[in-house]
Point group: C2
Chain length 140, copies 2
Amino acid sequence: MDKKSKSLSKNQKIVLDFIQKNKKPVKAYSILSNVQKKGINAPPQVYRALDKLIEIGKIHRVESQNSFVACKISNCDTPHKTIFSICNSCEIVSEINDPKLFKNLKDFRDKDGTVFDGYNLEFFGTCKSCKNKQIENTKH
Amino acid sequence: MDKKSKSLSKNQKIVLDFIQKNKKPVKAYSILSNVQKKGINAPPQVYRALDKLIEIGKIHRVESQNSFVACKISNCDTPHKTIFSICNSCEIVSEINDPKLFKNLKDFRDKDGTVFDGYNLEFFGTCKSCKNKQIENTKH
DNA sequence: AAATTTTTGTTATATTATAACACTATACTC
DNA sequence: GAGTATAGTGTTATAATATAACAAAAATTT
Ligand SMILES: [Zn+2]
Ligand SMILES: [Zn+2]
Ligand SMILES: [Zn+2]
Ligand SMILES: [Zn+2]
């Protein structure tokens, strides 16, 4: 029985459910205030659930934002092998599923020949929607 | 006159000097406590200097550690194009200078064709020194 | 020298995350 | 199924990281 098929605890379900409902990444204290009606009262309850959900790969942490987002890649059952694109303007985050890039990163060795267990890659730019808005604004 | 050749202010010099003296990344409040004797009294003074030093590429932020490290790549004059290897055990950080990987990341486009301004890549593993220590320990 | 921009110093506060402890639920083992 | 180990819960307090806001000084530009 692998990690993924183990059933989640009550708090883990509540937190995961809230993260999955959001298109954008969410912050820990935003999660907290949104799930208080479900009986989660304090930060440690949220952070514990987050830790577990990250460990089993259901969510990822967006390091540059201190935020958390649901995994969008069905077979992403491990944590710490993540690639995101992040819009500098609207802060929307997309998980990137690019086989060639995966391979490049998986095969990477440093000068010593050290193999790495995991990685996190975050690309920064302006998303299509924000770019269009900027063009709109310069027209007027 | 490019950003790099502009001379640094007093506080910027103090903070950069301290970061460069350290082999490992340093935390903001560790910087603060270590430079108080030089007349830097409060967090904003440190964070402002850090922001500027990051902007001009003299230092980088290690996102997964909330820490700051001097740039080790002479021609790394832009921020936000960074690759690090990080030891899970001793937390030592090395900036990676790998032309092939640079090219892969520079050339990456998402499905939309969006071009990215920058990226941050952090590899996680066990450094050679820590791996050797682990082997030592299993011997006894 | 006046105006603008950058940097400084300071106080207060916001945001993010964990320590510690007592207790409960679930899973595992014999 | 009783005993035991493991994982999860609830709670309070506090640690660690980062920024807002404002007034003053210094450096740079015009
Ligand atoms: Zn994923
Ligand atoms: Zn956007
Ligand atoms: Zn660098
Ligand atoms: Zn190490």
